[in-house]
Symmetry: C2
Subunit: 406 residues, 2 copies
């Protein structure tokens, strides 16, 4: 299969590109390197020493004998180049990772809010428009987020994209319907993903574009079987307050013996998936595309859920560190339940890697190994969701509690 | 009250500006004149001889003694100018008309699709972002469309924005909820309005922005009490296949004795409102803003519904013309019901102008009066919704039926 990977230089896109190339697919990467430029802006860097795209692709050729093509192209801005590329390459599928994906970054300032909306909506819309205009039957696989559902659902299990409801008619009759799960995004970034859903539904209905939308949990882990083959293939590991996910920040803090900073009570429940499972899920999504004429296929791409404070305690006990509670920069409920239906991927044969198995490897092989490259000042999240919240390094709310007390 | 009107040079924005100015409000118009530029692109023009903004404002000063300020500004592109203007002027409210509003134009080509998404989403997002950044408690009134609901609702009356549903939990329990009405847009233009709704919901929730979203039907009529005061104040009348609404196209065809072209069976039911009622509704919406902390207030701004073929027959009989059925360029159901709840505006005191009262004035005072300015070749809709539909002048599907036969 010939597959174009939008955003193939990023944290999920790079290991996916290698995984699909290894599996025998022809892979073409499109990326404008905006993520590396954002590192420049934020004066931070991947903890792991990632290579330039030129070095990455040469190393992959050396290690695997396989070629991956790369185009430096802005999907949101360079529509004509994108369209011509599709017409020339005639891919079977496109995997779309190319969006600004950090919630805290999307809330940093009006400029960051506006960049996130403009970049993400135009990237997705250009992609759909180019597929329709090309008249090629290209299957689009998009990386969405569990965050479109809004966390907290009255104890209900979150279904895969569509919700069964009953509408009560004027005469009292109950009319059963199935609707796109009502969105409740928690940041400007998450909001763009709910807008993406409307783009997919429309292009699917009007132009017959086949779309799979993967509602992904927080991705953790760094290595996949392919990235481990050579240090020049290493994947990025973000630990800064904007792009570092909660788990990565804990791992870094543990590695350097700093207390794990939990926002609020840590009662927020989040969904997780290991990067090795992410690349496998994308492969499965490509293998089982929706039929022509079928509605947008939505799959929940996550394997386990945890409360943030439990995660902190787990890592604290593994590494003998402490847990500290700080103000929550996000505007969200302090505590929430989260039960998620992920049966589609399990039925397709996904074998989950659990946190319990993989965490120690991350601490020793990644966080501790590269800890001396880290700029510790970058770890706290300084973006705030509204003007009445205080920016700056979070203040500790409680005395640091030793993990041995938990 | 000080009110900024985004898109105040347009068909709805101009008479609204005059109406609010007349009522004693301080009015400031922002418009990038893109609508006039699109007339250049489409090689068409308003049927009525609209004046330039300079002449319009001078005439208004002369006639009413009142001053309206105007800034030529692109809301979607010039964020900093927009923000500074809000900080300088400190308006109480913003009325947002500034979007590309023609469904056929939004479907003309990939360039038109992309322009519509980029312009509309960024215009709305910049406005919300600037309100939040200004930290002023500005009430935003937005012109949305009945089209966000998607026509056809299983015989149910369309509520004002929010739908009561019951979610069936795993244990069989029915949990009542109220959700944003599930969107089902019929064109790229309508889709942008469903994306706007997500922007409003988010900025309302996160930043406390007070928003009223007016889900408007098709606006008909040309004159309002203020535009009638001087010919230099005349409002635009679009009759071309892209911007001319179904009613305006019928009026033009009737005026020149051309058969009224009905798309498909004409079984589509649409919601209508007279321009005099539009300006009144906006005034009422400004008068009854949502409270601080209240969710987005959604009002259905329409006064009557009609099937397209009934409308054609009505105008045909008034003007002694014929009706012709042609292929439908839109991808939509051939026939649909439409019942709409509009009790909010009626309770606020709106007095509807009905088609039955106002149509003849439109035919004689507008369509017939200016008919010799019309380029008849521009009347048919040549935009198509998908590539498999044929572009070009619609082919007559049936023999022309004389209105006297109906
Ligand atoms: N990492 C996670 O935990 C996670 C969780 C859920 C969903 N996702 C989704 O998966 C996708 C990939 O996430 P990631 O963690 O790999 O992010 P990332 O930032 O590491 O990668 C995104 C890549 O897209 C590129 N890009 C962005 N805008 C572009 C544009 N306009 N043109 C071309 N390239 C562009 C960037 O340069 C970057 O290489 C995102 O859409 C994200 O929302 C990620
Ligand atoms: N006319 C109708 O029947 C109807 C029905 C339902 C809803 N609406 C909505 O009402 C609003 C006004 O409709 P209208 O018929 O007056 O349209 P219009 O095209 O006549 O007016 C829109 C005005 O906004 C301006 N504009 C567009 N983009 C802009 C930008 N980026 N910056 C600054 N100005 C910009 C245009 O120049 C134009 O003057 C639209 O949002 C439309 O969707 C109209």
């Amino acid at each position: 299969m010939k597959v174009v990977i939008l955003g193939g230089d990023g944290f999920c896109g790079w290991p996916t590109s290698l995984h699909l190339s290894k599996a025998g697919h022809e892979v073409i990467i499109l990326d404008n390197l905006s993520r590396r430029n954002i590192d420049n802006e934020l004066e931070t860097d991947s903890l792991t020493p990632i290579s330039s795209m030129g070095v990455r692709l040469a190393a992959w050729k050396e290690v695997s004998g396989k070629e991956i093509k790369f185009y430096n192209l802005d999907i949101a801005q360079e529509y004509d180049r994108l369209l011509n590329l599709l017409l020339d390459e005639k891919p079977d599928a496109i995997v779309h990772f190319a969006e600004q994906r950090a919630a805290p970054y999307s809330m940093k300032s009006p400029r960051h809010r506006r960049y996130t909306v403009d970049n993400n909506i135009n990237a997705t819309h250009n992609t759909l428009c180019a597929i329709a205009e090309s008249e090629l039957d290209i299957h689009l696989v998009h990386l969405g987020t569990m965050g479109v559902y809004g966390y907290g659902t009255a104890g209900m299990k979150i279904p895969e994209g569509y919700l069964d409801i009953e509408v009560v008619a004027e005469n009292g009759e109950r009319i059963p319907q199935q609707i796109l799960y009502p969105p409740n995004p928690g940041s400007v970034y998450h909001m763009t993903k709910t807008q993406d859903q409307l783009l997919f539904a429309y292009y699917n209905k009007n132009d017959g574009v086949r779309v799979t939308d993967l509602h992904q949990g927080i991705v953790w882990g760094t290595d996949t079987e392919e990235t481990k083959l050579d240090e020049r293939l290493i994947n990025r590991f973000d630990y800064d307050g904007d792009y570092g996910t909660v788990l990565n920040r804990f791992l870094m803090q543990a590695a350097i013996g700093y207390p794990l900073t939990v926002h609020g009570t840590g009662g927020q429940t989040r969904a997780f998936i290991h990067i090795q499972n992410t690349v496998r899920c994308v492969e499965l999504a490509l293998q089982y595309p929706p039929e022509k004429g079928e509605r947008v296929k939505i799959l929940n791409q996550m394997t386990e859920t945890h409360r943030v404070r439990d995660l902190a305690k787990l890592i604290a006990s593994l590494t003998n560190t402490e847990v500290a509670y700080v103000d929550n920069p996000r505007k969200e409920a302090a505590e929430n339940e989260l039960k998620v239906d992920n049966s589609c991927f399990l039925e397709m044969g996904l074998k989950p890697t659990t946190l319990a198995e993989g965490l120690l490897h991350e601490v020793t092989e990644i966080a501790k190994k590269y800890a001396d490259h880290a700029d510790l000042a970058k770890i706290p999240c300084t973006s705030v969701w509204t003007k009445d919240q205080k920016a700056g390094v979070p203040q500790l709310k409680q005395e640091v509690t030793s993990s041995s007390n938990n």
